[in-house]
Each structure stands twice: as C-alpha cells, then as structure tokens.
C-alpha cells in the first residue's frame, strides 16, 4: 500500500488518519478514562506503521502524542500540562508508539524480503531446470541473459575461457556490453567476485563472477549495472555456481563424446590395417607359392624358366617385406602398437635376424662382433629384429657382392652401441640425416630396389626405445649405421648352485 503513494501523500494520509481518529475520540472525552483514549491512538500508530511504512509511523507516533496532549489532557485545547504525572503517560505512550512503529514496519520489510527471496529461489529453480536441458554453451548464455534481464533488469554475458585464459576476441564476440578483461582475469585468477561500481552506468560490465567448480574454472559471468546489490549479488553468485555446474557437465559430455570417437576411429584404423595386411599378404603368398610350384614341376622346366620362377618368388618376398615395413610404420605412427619390452640378449636378436635373412646374405661375408659379456637390453625383440634386418638388408643392397659386412656392438658407460658397417660407397655426406626420412634413398634415380622405408622405420623403432640412430661414412670407405640404446637396469639373475 505504501508503494502506491508518494512520500508527501503518505504523510498527508497519516496526518489525516491520526487527526480524524483523535477528533472522533473527543466525542467520548467525558465518558472515557484517559488510559482508554491512549489505547485507540496506539492502535492508529500500529495501523499506520503496518500500512504506510516506518517514516510515517514515527510521524504518527509523535502526532498522536501531541494530539492526546492538546485535545484531552487538562487544560484541554492547550499544550500546557497541569499535572506533571501526564509526562509519564506521554513518555510511555511515545516509547510504545515508536516501538510498535519500528517492529511493525520491520516485519513488513521482512515479509517483503522473504517474498522477494522466494521469487528468486523459484526463478533459480526454473533456470536450473532450463540449464539442465542446455546442450551448448550459447544456449546456456541465452538462458542466463534472459534470466538476469528478468530478475535484475541488467544485461549479462558468459565469458568462456580456454585453458583458464580469456581469449579476448573469441570470448567477447557478441557480448551486449564492453568487457574489462583485466577485471575478468582477476576474477578468474583469484576465484572471487569482482564488483566495480565505478563502471556502473556506462556501457560496461561492472560485475565479474568466476564460474568455477572444485575441478576447474570454466569462465566468468559478467553483469552490467547491478541494482540492489545486497539481494542481487547473492543471487548472481548462486546463478554462477549453477552455470559452472552446467558448463562442467557440457565439458565432460564433450570429453566423453571425443573419447568415444577416438576409440571408434582407433578401432577402424586398426581393422583397416589388419585387413590391408591380410589382403596384401594373401596374393603374395599365392604368388610365392605359384612360383615355387613352377620350380617343382616334373619333368623339370628349362633352366631359364626355373630362374624366372625363383626371381618371381624372391621379388614377391621382397614386396612382402616392404609391405610389412610400411604397415608396421603405419601402426607405430598411429600409436597403436604397445611395445613389448623384455630383457633380451643382443646376440639373440642379431642371430634371429641373420637366420631370417639367411639367403639374402649369402653373397656377402658377414662378420659378427658382439662381446659375449654384453648386458641384457630392454627391448621389443620383434621390432628390434626388424631394425637389425633392415640395416643388414641395406648394407647388402648398397655394397658389392662378396664384400664384408660387419655387425657388432660396443658397450659404453650409459648405453650400448650397435653398428652395421659395409664396404659400399657410403652415404651422401650432405644427406646423413635425411636418409632416415621416409622415401629418401641413398642414390638418386638408383636402380636398387627398396624405398627408404627400412631406415625410416628403424628410426621410429629406435626412438620408441628411447635410443638414437645415426649414419656415418668411415675413413676407410663404406658407410655405417649406429644405434645407441640406453642400458637401463637389467634384472638380477639368481646364481645357479653348481653341483
């Protein structure tokens, strides 16, 4: 009711009401005891304070005491007082009236506040429901802008952050006001609300609330020109935690989706590789088999035909090796392969490689120079065998028939060096590092078979072993490739009790 009138009107109404009551009571002045005249006047104060607010209540209290003095206390129609004991009546009456006024208007205010809070709670509840359905950051922003506008008549904008940093252009694009990025950064860094009333009024956001959960901070809520800060500030902060939870939910939903996507594409890649591997290997197997069976035809084919069939088989094998290298390379690069590290003897790996290459090495003199007391090395034997085989194959490919190829190992303080040394022309001195990149070969336009896959995959494997690989030319001619592998801590071996 108080809101419907201007202050002047309210005072006027108060005066009118008090006077009407007091003058009405004068008709009963002779019949009623003074105490019973005070009571209705106090009731008037109570009514005024309930309906017209605190200021009018105080005014009515003073007015009613004055009117009581003027109209009823002898000598009547004068402010003079004959009997000093009426001063007690005045005093008590004034205190009671003021107390009543104060409490009644306070109660009213409290009721109004409670109502307002109830409204805010309802609104927050509704916005929480809306946020639960939000699927994107811009939807969240839209819901919040609408809510803040309805509740406080202020504009608002969510500044999303990337890696806990505000990206100025990206994040403020589309905002309804200017953003003081320094204050937003402070809010973000200190995880506290920053409110600058000096920015009020202008077209600037003045309130910055961090949007953080216990896990991390997702952004800053900026609000312009906030009114009634006592209530609205708390509401905005409550709102901020709702937004933070929503953004966190969106974040994790995104992460989950991304993970699922990665798993699916990983599986796809893996199945493509294995299908490819199978599909290429099958015709190669057939090719090798067919060529071989030609050489077994009885009666035997002419020598030339036999040679041809052997060459077909050999080339198919070579192609198979190449495909293996490429597929292994793809698998390693995709990060799909988990290395199976175990403690191995280098002799085993080299021995297996020599055995595997048996025929290909037949035209060269192979010298092995591996100390028998070499410590165990932690490696993926299958992949390392591939490296050794590739190095040996390369040596065979680029050095003349009958020449010497040496494979050996040297123990250094912190690592083991494996080397393959040939007596070929060596590497192009300007390309010692390039030879490990894919599809670079030692000689330009060379007619030697093979891409640079062998050295490239060797490098990938050696790097996966935390090792190093390099090529060099030696003073006595010929090239060599060196692999350095870290020594690590080999497991202890229980000594056998000799009988």
């Amino acid at each position: 009711m108080a809101d419907r009138f201007s202050p002047l009107q309210r005072y006027f109404l108060t005066a009118l009401f008090c006077m009407a009551s007091a003058f009405g009571l004068t008709f009963f002045a002779d019949d009623l005891d003074h105490a019973n005249i005070v009571m209705p006047l106090l009731l008037v104060v109570l009514l005024v304070s309930v309906n017209l607010g605190r200021d009018c209540a105080v005014f009515s209290a003073v007015l009613c005491v004055s009117l009581f003095d003027y109209l009823f206390v002898p000598p009547r129609f004068s402010f003079a007082v004959n009997d000093p004991q009426y001063l007690v009546t005045f005093f008590v009456m004034l205190v009671v009236a003021l107390t009543t006024a104060h409490m009644a208007s306070g109660l009213k205010q409290a009721a109004a506040d409670a109502l307002k809070r109830e409204e805010i709670t309802q609104a927050l509840y509704k916005v929480a429901k809306d946020l639960a359905g939000a699927l994107t950051g811009s939807q969240v922003n839209e819901i919040i802008s609408k809510f803040v506008l309805e509740q406080t008549a202020s504009k608002s904008w969510i500044i999303e952050t990337q890696d806990n940093k505000i990206v100025r252009d990206e994040m403020t694009k589309g905002s309804p006001f200017s953003i003081e990025s320094h204050m937003a950064t402070i809010a973000l860094r200190d995880k506290r609300t920053v409110n600058s009333s000096s920015l009020n009024g202008a077209d600037w956001a003045s309130l910055y609330v961090p949007l953080g959960t216990s896990m991390r901070t997702y952004g800053v809520l900026s609000v312009s020109n906030i009114e009634n800060p006592q209530i609205n500030l708390r509401m905005i902060e409550a709102l901020a935690s709702l937004i933070a939870i929503t953004l966190e939910r969106l974040h994790y939903a995104q992460v989950a989706q991304k993970n699922e996507l990665e798993i699916v594409s990983e599986r796809l890649r893996s199945s493509i590789l294995s299908a490819l591997s199978h599909d290429i290997r099958t015709p190669l197997t057939v090719l090798v088999g067919l060529a071989d069976s030609l050489s077994m035809v009885k009666p035997s084919l002419p020598a030339q035909a036999l040679e041809t069939s052997a060459a077909i088989a050999q080339q198919a094998m070579r192609l198979s090796n190449l495909v293996s290298n490429l597929l292994e390379m793809a698998r390693l690069n995709s990060g799909e392969v988990k290395l199976r590290f175990e403690w191995h003897l280098l002799q085993d790996v080299v021995g297996a490689s020599l055995q595997h290459l048996n025929l290909a090495l037949a035209d060269h003199r192979i010298i092995t120079n591996i100390p028998s007391n070499l410590p165990l090395l932690e490696l993926d034997a299958v992949l390392m065998e591939r490296v050794v085989s590739n190095l040996l194959e390369n040596a065979v490919k680029y050095s003349p028939k009958g020449s010497r190829i040496e494979i050996g190992a040297i123990e250094h303080p912190s690592d083991i060096e494996i080397y393959v040394l040939d007596q070929g022309p060596g590497f192009d001195a300007t390309k010692l590092e390039e030879v490990f990149s894919l599809f670079v070969r030692g000689e330009k336009e060379s007619n030697k078979p093979g891409f640079g896959v062998g050295l490239a995959i060797s490098q990938v494997v050696v790097k996966a072993h935390r090792g190093n690989i390099y090529a060099q030319n030696n003073s006595d001619g010929g090239g060599s490739v060196h692999v350095l592998l870290p020594k690590g801590m080999p497991p202890e071996l229980e000594q056998e009790v000799c009988a």
């Binding site: 088999g289 191995h344 790996v349 021995g351 020599l354 055995q355």
Partner: protein
C-alpha cells in the same frame, strides 16, 4: 610320403597350392574352408597332419587347436601373418606344433611338414639316448656331452635345458613352455633366465655362438633346435 593331411584355409588359391605341393609329395589331401568344416573333416578323415590358417572367417583357430587336442595329438602346423606373434604363441601354447609365416616358400612348407611327420612315429619307438648335432654328441644314458670328443661341463640347469630342446628336434618351443619345464611354473615370466642360459648353451656347443646353427631363436615366439 604317404600321409593323410587336412588343410584348413579359406583362400582357395593358397589351398590349391598347398594341395598340389603335398600331392606331389604323395600325400592324401582333404580340405576345409572354415573351423566348423575343419572339425567335421578331422572326425571324418582322421588326418595324420593338420595345416591350419589362423585367420579363418568363422573365427577362432586357437579354439580349434584346443578342441582337437582334447582327443588327438595329430601334429598341427599353423599359418599366420608376420605381425601376429601373439597369435602364434597362443596357437603353440594351445598345442600346435609349428608355425609358418605368410608368405612362405613351398619348399620351406614341405620341409616343415616332413619334420612334423618324421617326428610322429618316433614317439612310438624308444627315443635314442644318443643325439648328435654339429660336432657335438649327447648321451642321455650317461649324461655326458661331448664336443669334438672333449667332454663339456654343463650345469644342471643347462643340461636340463639341453634335454628339453633336444627332445623335440625341429619343433618350435615357446619360451613359456621351456621356462615352465626347466625352471618350473613360478618362472613363467622370467624369460631373461632362458635367454641367458640359452646363450650359455650356445657358447659351449655352437661353433659360432652369434650365428647359431642349432639353437635357433624364433623371435617373439621361442626357440627351435635344429639337428
């Protein structure tokens, strides 16, 4: 060779090559294109050797080996792609006798099959206590190992390892199998023991230990003794 051989392989071309090559050697061939058909053929033809492709369309070659092993010790030769060391080991541990990596030469295939078939009747006779390879001879009855007529001293574990390796010549043995047999179950994960002791054997018995001729490493799988 007059043996019944079952070929289980889904690629018709590869099957035909295997068939032709083995028939030239005098074998009787039955064929299957799937695990299901394979199991049926095992029952119907009672083969003396099975060649099994691990990548069959209806699945599990390992399951096939386990199933066959419950009632038959027919030698099984696995064919597989080069990458799948894990599959090979699983197949061998399930009871397969050897493996070949695709692509393979026909002569290699014939040699492996001959070795597998040669071994079979030997189980029925008494195993000879005397084994010779390279310039070494081992007499199990007296537990002596000679190299160029010089006695070689082996530790008990080395001797045990030698005995296990020599027991199945030409057969690939997975490292888990050797570890369990020589050291016992609790050492199944201590492969480095096997590697060290194998290198001791090579030092003592091979002419050139770093280019072994008899104690061969099947990388990622295990070891093979070649006479």
């Amino acid at each position: 060779m007059d043996f019944r051989v079952l070929i289980i392989e889904d690629e018709i071309q590869i099957r035909r090559i295997l068939k032709n090559a083995l028939e030239d050697e005098g074998c009787h061939i039955s064929e299957a294109g799937s695990v299901k058909e394979g199991l049926r053929q095992v029952g119907a033809t009672n083969p003396e050797l099975i060649v099994l492709d691990l990548g069959l369309p209806d699945g599990d070659g390992i399951g096939f080996i386990e199933e066959v092993r419950t009632w038959s010790d027919t030698p099984i030769l696995i064919l597989s792609a080069r990458f799948d060391e894990k599959d090979k080991v699983a197949g061998l541990n399930a009871g397969a006798d050897d493996y070949l990596t695709k692509p393979f030469g026909v002569s290699e295939l014939i040699a492996r099959i001959k070795a597998l078939l040669r071994r079979k009747p030997r189980l029925e006779e008494d195993v000879s206590p005397l084994v010779q390879f390279g310039n070494c001879s081992v007499d199990f009855s007296t537990r002596t190992v000679l190299r160029e007529d010089q006695e070689i001293h082996l530790t008990p574990i080395e001797y045990k390892l030698l005995a296990v390796m020599l027991s199945r010549p030409d057969k690939v043995m997975t490292q888990t199998h050797i570890l369990k047999t020589v050291w016992g179950d609790s050492y199944a994960d201590s492969a480095h023991y096997l590697r060290i002791y194998m290198s001791h054997l090579r030092q003592k018995l091979e002419e050139n230990p770093s280019q072994p001729k008899h104690f061969l490493t099947e990388i990622g799988v295990g070891y093979r003794f070649k006479q």
